[in-house]
């Protein structure tokens, strides 16, 4: 297995290269519905969303978690991810540009590996946090 070399000097405080998405469109949510197989109409059908008491359709939480997955695999090869979890703390709305970011909070040894614990999140342009979570990756 060809592994991306990871600097031995990774320390708490180091940040993962962040990225910001395009504004979330209805088309993207329809694409994600098809790609994910999550057929809940609340994300694409405004009539259904309104009947459910929501002002409009809104993004799948798991679309944002997939973006955080991109953040992680851009930093380490996926086979090094040991654990990856989030809380969905606010609804991600249409039109928002979402920034995905992460920071190393701890470097530790477990199961014979050197691992990093990361704090990860998504937020809109106003800095409102939407997903907040953590991940553990193997460094060596």
């Amino acid at each position: 297995m060809k592994l991306q070399s990871i600097q031995p000097g990774i320390q708490p405080g180091e940040t993962l290269p962040p990225f910001t998405t395009e504004p979330i469109s209805r088309h993207l949510l329809a694409m994600y519905l098809g790609a994910s197989g999550d057929l809940n109409p609340i994300h694409v059908d405004i009539d259904f969303a309104r009947k459910a008491g929501m002002p409009d359709v809104f993004a799948h939480g798991m679309l944002s978690m997939a973006w955080l997955g991109r953040l992680l695999v851009n930093w380490v090869p996926q086979e090094r991810i040991r654990d990856f979890g989030v809380r969905f703390t606010a609804i991600t709305q249409l039109g928002e540009r979402i920034t995905c970011s992460g920071t190393v909070t701890e470097v530790f040894e477990a199961d014979g590996e050197r691992r990093a614990r990361l704090s990860i999140q998504t937020a809109n342009e106003q800095g409102q946090v939407k997903l907040s979570g953590d991940a553990v990756v193997a460094l060596s």
């Binding site: 694409m31 197989g37 109409p41 939480g61 798991m62 978690m65 997955g69 695999v73 979890g85």
Partner: protein, 147 residues
């Protein structure tokens, strides 16, 4: 109220084939730029037997249950009233296109907050592959909005 007798209830296990076309569509939808998630040759060059299943796609495969509404029906939950509260993946092995993954789901907990205005369904899922290897554990918290 969610019937607490279902705490510990195991849903019907099922197996799902991992299809390369689904993985390509997913990579496109989420804007994944790394070619190993869409191009077989790039995946092999990176040491994978075929396209890897990206980190959150196990949740999508989990929804390929032959009876995706089983848990909601069992608990009497309306799909219009649910939100995703938490999701966690603990990984043990990579999965790839061509694998057949088995999902064993269990209702691990049911509880409420705010005097029952919000109820919570905790589901734990064990994922294994066609060789019997443990691929991952998924932990999902669904929030039910009552009233």
């Amino acid at each position: 109220m969610l019937d607490r007798q279902y705490i510990g209830h195991r849903l019907q296990p099922y197996s799902v084939p991992v299809e390369a076309g689904r993985l390509r569509f997913f990579a496109k939808a989420v804007g994944e730029p790394n070619p190993i998630y869409r191009d077989e040759a790039a995946a092999r060059l990176a040491g994978h037997p075929s396209l890897p299943v990206p980190p959150t796609f196990l949740f999508c495969l989990e929804m390929e249950s032959p009876d995706p509404g089983e848990m909601r029906r069992l608990l009497g939950v309306d799909i219009a009233r649910i939100l995703h509260g938490e999701q966690r993946f603990t990984y043990h092995a990579m999965a790839h296109a061509g694998d057949v993954l088995t999902f064993e789901q269990r209702i691990a907990d049911l509880y409420d907050k705010k005097g029952g205005a919000l109820e919570f369904i905790v589901r734990e899922t064990r994922v294994s592959n066609q060789r019997g290897e443990h691929v991952a554990d998924l932990h999902c918290v669904t929030v039910v909005r009552n009233g």
